[in-house]
Symmetry: C2
Subunit: 514 residues, 2 copies
């Protein structure tokens, strides 16, 4: 174990890979050459089309110990990961590394596959049951690795993770493997995450429930990246993509936070024609995004782009002419997918363009962004991965990418969840270093990072309720009830990577609570 | 020098690169890994925008002996190559390798840059004056290398050619380097050729005359591939993209050839709903393409796709519902560009998808295609590069790619040009081996490759004028006038690569004519 620049202990190695401790937000730059992709060749007389996952596993030569990758666009409605893992189990495979972009409650069967030894390593987000299970420790051969969207792209391009077989759900594909998630009977949205998997995997399999005439166009995945097209009955349920969090909050407290966040953008100094922001999908962010739209209308200004996980609200803002382009990170509801099918201003981009750590990604062009947190601390550090009870229940998503990219990164949080404090002395897990968080908006006031004195002045001049973060914390603490705190073991069950591939924190095994 | 499987002599080496003699159409497959691309990093506070080519050359670190690349989408209206070479000359650079996709008469100043020593190697097509000049020999440090569109893409991916700096003309770009050739004041069409240059070059420069708000979308070149955006006054003249050859022929002889070619497609066995063909841009091909459209209407069938260099004729066929998709290789007139801006069925693809040598490119999906020739011989070998006078005046274009991909590759030629024979005993240069040419259509009849007996039977049953190629040649020879034949020297001035990177023929210095 080594201590990194945040004072957190991180392992020396994960498997054979030497861990680089986090040294600062921009200290490590990509250099030299990327990993080399594999040549592909399909016999001119052959066909890429297969009709069973079992046969596909044989054809790609999947073996014990290999790494398999997936995307999570169907979110809690995904059928592909479970189908492929069941097929792997039937083959008696062991020791696979699971490299999905994310796991959801629907992937609870992964726990059984860990117990059976089919999966012994995971790199990727674990939302819900698998994360909770892994938090108990002792179940994987090495710590899990969590990365941001951009960080995962970087890791593959840098060769940190070599994918043996990518299994990519696509709602429409042709015989040559041009594939899309936007069209077809069960669309999941543009395959934002999968370009890097498709390009770098030793073998790339498109799994589809709809073979369409050649050529499928527009395509998210190109035929030249695809080795096989596996046609199955079902790949996922689009109705499960949207979840309950996609409603604008009705809570007066949260609406107040949203109002303050919108005001913070309005008086940030960036609010003018041609500005840009990232909307969020949580209840507060949605409300704040809506309020900014109303402010834009009043001011008669148009954003060059709005970006984010896309919901009906952002589609409405695009169609209302509030932005010149809507940059698409992920579809969060069916309106987002329908819009991708027809709105020329709706611009799907891959995660490389969105957030690759090359200093020139789309998040770096953001003026303002709304972000969430499970905890923040007095150094403005943010935790989005673990709860205060120590359990690993969420992925990083684009949090780090957006926070370090946006000129004004705004975290919107209530000071209490139930009677638990959200502002703490020290976050359980550091996901995003305070250095890149500019503003924390709560129902009790707005705290500005001391690194941003001009921003603070602007807010004060505008009459916004600016307070010290410590004061907000103190106010909230009077209402806090005593909570059980986790007892951590020595075992590192997961490592949180910063966007540059260094380790910013470790998540330790939860032995119990006191 | 070594003799290859076509009996042609090819050099042992070109510079340091060992030449692989051609061994057959499918003997060499891409294996292992591709070349590794370079990491890029732009400082978060920096900008990619520069305002002079001279400054750009300094910033990218262009040095003597390096390789610079360009695309030819503006064709004879390109201003970028000459501007960049002039700037290189001002810097006093020497010994550059010019790796443009093609050169046109407008690039005649390249000759002076060869004379001055600025350019000492060329890899790429040389249409017109530069080719004629190089044909005289003794002017370049090593033989030029000509590749098909797909072969060039393959060569870069395989690492056969390492690009130091790509200078890519784009009619619109943003500050991060998202760039397009489709929109803007002076569009040149989708940047089909340039994806591979942008990805693999050590430094990638987008040269544009129009900086647009971020993000430019849709983009042909992604910001993640771009190091600098150089803003200049003019990049090219779109009105010079279309040339006189884009007219449907009015010659009765050529119209007769077109009619026979259309009939050949109709009776090929592939002419049914869902079929596909590549239209050509020459006068005969255009006429034949129009006639096929009329046959499709009569038969009530729709093509899954039509592909090719795109002209108004193909746009009309797309809009008439004659095809489900129009796959776009290159814009040949302003209608093609206007259509790219608005027709969702018009599908721009990069050359990797079009013709990369991976056994699974779009050309491999073609049922039928029309191709040209300067000469054909009795083994069905085709020459498109040199004239019978020995001079290298044309590039390969997509000839090899389409010929080896299409199920029925049809060469349409008059038997005489002036009083010169087109069917010869042995072609001056082998561009495309006869093995992949299925049909040769002349005004005197249709010759079918003996490798395609079923096709010949179908044509005979349909009452088409099927003849032996030797008989057609003999008929034409009665009308031939004596011609001057070239006297070749020993010096190889260019090597013609087959799609797999092997050398299918050499072009020798022309010492004179007798």
């Amino acid at each position: 174990m080594k201590k990194n620049a945040m004072g957190r202990m991180v392992p020396d190695k994960i498997g054979d890979r030497i861990v680089t401790p986090y040294e600062g937000i921009y200290t490590r730059r990509p250099e030299g050459r990327k990993a080399a992709r594999w040549q592909r060749f399909t016999d001119n007389q052959g066909s890429k089309v297969l009709h069973s996952i079992d046969e596909t596993i044989d054809r790609v030569g999947l073996k014990d110990g290999m790494t398999i990758s997936f995307h999570h666009l169907f979110r809690d409605g995904d059928y592909v990961i479970n189908q492929v893992l069941d097929a792997c189990a039937r083959k008696g495979l062991k020791g696979l590394r699971l490299f999905s972009t994310a796991l959801f409650p629907v992937h609870k069967p992964v726990i059984d596959h860990i117990k059976s030894g089919l999966i012994d390593r995971i790199e990727g987000s674990m939302n819900g049951p698998v994360g909770a299970y892994v938090s108990q420790g002792g179940v994987l051969a090495q710590p899990a690795v969590l990365r941001s969207h951009g960080g995962r792209w970087r890791a593959v391009e840098a060769g940190d993770v070599e994918i043996d077989v990518a299994f990519l759900a696509a709602s429409q594909a042709d015989v040559m493997g041009n594939a899309t998630g936007v069209f077809g009977k069960t669309p999941c949205g543009y395959m934002t995450y999968s370009g890097v998997d498709a390009q770098y995997a030793r073998k790339t399999v498109v799994i589809t429930n709809e073979l369409a005439p050649y050529p499928v166009f527009p395509f998210d995945i190109q035929q030249g990246w695809t080795d096989y097209v596996c046609v199955v009955d079902e790949i996922g349920d689009p109705d499960s993509i949207a979840s309950g969090t996609l409603q604008i909050t009705k809570s007066p407290t949260r609406l107040h936070i949203a109002r303050l966040a919108a005001e913070a953008v309005k008086y940030s100094g960036y609010f003018k024609d041609g500005f840009s922001f990232q909307g969020g999908a949580g209840g507060i962010s949605l409300a704040a995004t809506k309020m900014i739209g109303e402010e834009m209308k009043r001011a008669g200004i148009v954003a060059n782009f709005i970006m984010g996980g896309v919901t009906k609200l952002l589609i409405d803002q695009l169609n209302d002419g509030l932005c010149r382009k809507l940059m698409h990170g992920q579809a969060f509801d069916r309106w987002a997918i329908e819009s991708l099918q027809k709105d020329p201003g709706h611009a799907p981009i891959d995660v490389g363009t969105y957030a690759n750590y090359d200093g020139a990604c789309a998040t770096a062009m953001l003026d303002a962004a709304f972000l969430g947190a499970t905890e923040v601390d007095l150094d403005f550090n943010v935790n989005v991965n673990t709860h205060s009870d120590g359990r690993l229940l969420h992925g990083i998503g684009g949090h780090q990418d957006v926070a370090h990219g946006a000129s004004v990164a705004i975290v919107t949080i209530p000071t209490l969840r139930g009677r638990m404090p959200v502002i703490v002395d020290e976050v359980t897990t550091i996901t995003t270093p305070g250095e890149v968080i500019d503003v924390i908006v709560t129902e009790r006031g707005i705290a500005v990072n001391p690194r941003q004195p001009e921003l603070k002045d602007r807010f004060i001049k505008a009459g916004l309720p600016v307070k010290e973060l410590a004061d907000i914390k103190a106010e909230a603490e009077r209402l806090v009830q005593p909570v059980k705190t986790p007892v951590f073991g020595d075992e590192v069950i997961a490592v949180i990577e910063w966007v540059d591939g260094s380790a910013i924190d470790s998540v330790f095994k939860v032995e119990g609570w006191k």
